[in-house]
């Protein structure tokens, strides 16, 4: 099967895959590598954390992910996971830029520990400062239309509303909200981020006209992450092609698919 899609544009960088993939939670680094390769993704997310320097595991993981990204001619997307204020997120973004040598930052500013919901006020604040500092910000946000508009108006070319809370696998909680964001921000690169559980969730978002999907748990926590990565790759292509092809109008009443003219035995009873 040959899978073809259009290219995903992230701040001027054209990517052949519309899937962005996380590097966490896999059963092993080897499975992570196989899953990333199977997904076809060219963007891999990663993070920064405290660590015992004697372990040196940070350098090992970093080297391993670098090798994968080089192999797929891809890009790193560091995140600001765990930050709760704009100041924390800005500091972490600057630290990431130094280590990973990229201006891309997946901006997360969490406002609530229960559902890891982004804090819109802190997010806007951090976004504005980071854009002014030369970052290409990919903000992780809720499916709030006005918030997305504000982020876009600040200068974000890419906006990443959630499907549902991180790691829940609940899929698209509010399809109407997500469709509205797509309709109202036709020129933004919209990437659905977080909460995706099944390939059909990703397909649905792509059918709405979303530009891409960022996910981690749905692949990493599958019984077979490598096969699931392939499934997601196919789902994104199916959804995108469905969107391009134009979905039929939904109708209230039944219409026979088979022509009724010259139906045999018609009205004979």
């Amino acid at each position: 099967m040959t899978l073809t899609t259009g290219s995903l544009n992230i701040y001027g960088q054209k990517l052949s895959s519309r899937l962005l993939i996380g590097s966490a939670l896999y059963p092993s680094p080897q499975v992570m590598k196989q899953a990333i390769l199977a997904s076809g993704s060219q963007v891999v997310t990663l993070s920064l954390k405290r660590q015992n320097p004697q372990e040196n595991s940070g350098a090992q993981i970093w080297q391993y992910i670098q090798e994968i990204v080089t192999q797929v001619n891809g890009f790193l997307l560091p995140n600001t996971a765990g930050c709760k204020t704009a100041k924390e997120a800005i500091t972490l973004a600057k630290m990431s830029r130094e280590i990973f040598k990229t201006d891309w930052i997946k901006l997360e500013v969490i406002g609530d520990d229960y559902n890891l919901q982004p804090d819109p006020i802190e997010l806007l604040n951090a976004t504005e400062q980071l854009l002014n500092d030369g970052f290409n910000v990919l903000p992780y946000c809720t499916d709030d239309l006005v918030l997305c508009q504000r982020l876009y108006n600040l200068g974000c070319q890419v906006i990443m509303p959630w499907a549902s809370p991180i790691g829940t696998g609940k899929g698209l909680m509010n399809p109407y909200n997500l469709e509205t964001i797509r309709l109202r921000l036709p020129h933004a690169t919209l990437i659905l981020d977080a909460g995706i559980g099944k390939p059909s969730d990703a397909c649905l978002a792509m059918e709405m006209g979303y530009d891409g999907i960022l996910l981690n748990s749905a692949i990493a926590l599958a019984d077979d992450p490598v096969t699931m990565a392939k499934a997601f790759a196919g789902a994104l292509v199916a959804g995108e092609q469905g969107y391009i092809a134009g979905v039929m109008q939904e109708r209230q009443t039944a219409h026979p698919s088979t022509p009724t003219l010259d139906t045999p035995f018609w009205h004979q009873s």
């Binding site: 996380g22 590097s23 896999y26 954390k49 660590q51 320097p53 924390e88 630290m95 130094e98």
Partner: protein
Amino acid sequence: MKIKINGQTLELTSKLTSEQSSKRTIEHSNETPIYVDDALTKYFNNQQQSTFALALNGDFIGRDDYCSTPVKANDNIDILFPIQGG
């Protein structure tokens, strides 16, 4: 003086007080200040480490500034390393 690196208390040898450190550039104190570089050398136990980034009291400090950024008593340094992330 004592500082914290990643939550761990570290004793650094210096007579430099917090106030002296902050006035270091304008008063030409005779005390030898301790810099971020010095703290890292002790924290890493002289082992070579390159894959990390650093924040001092919540503010990013670039690698080029380690040798010119003084630390003072009760400072907090965060040293972060790459890990997998979503």
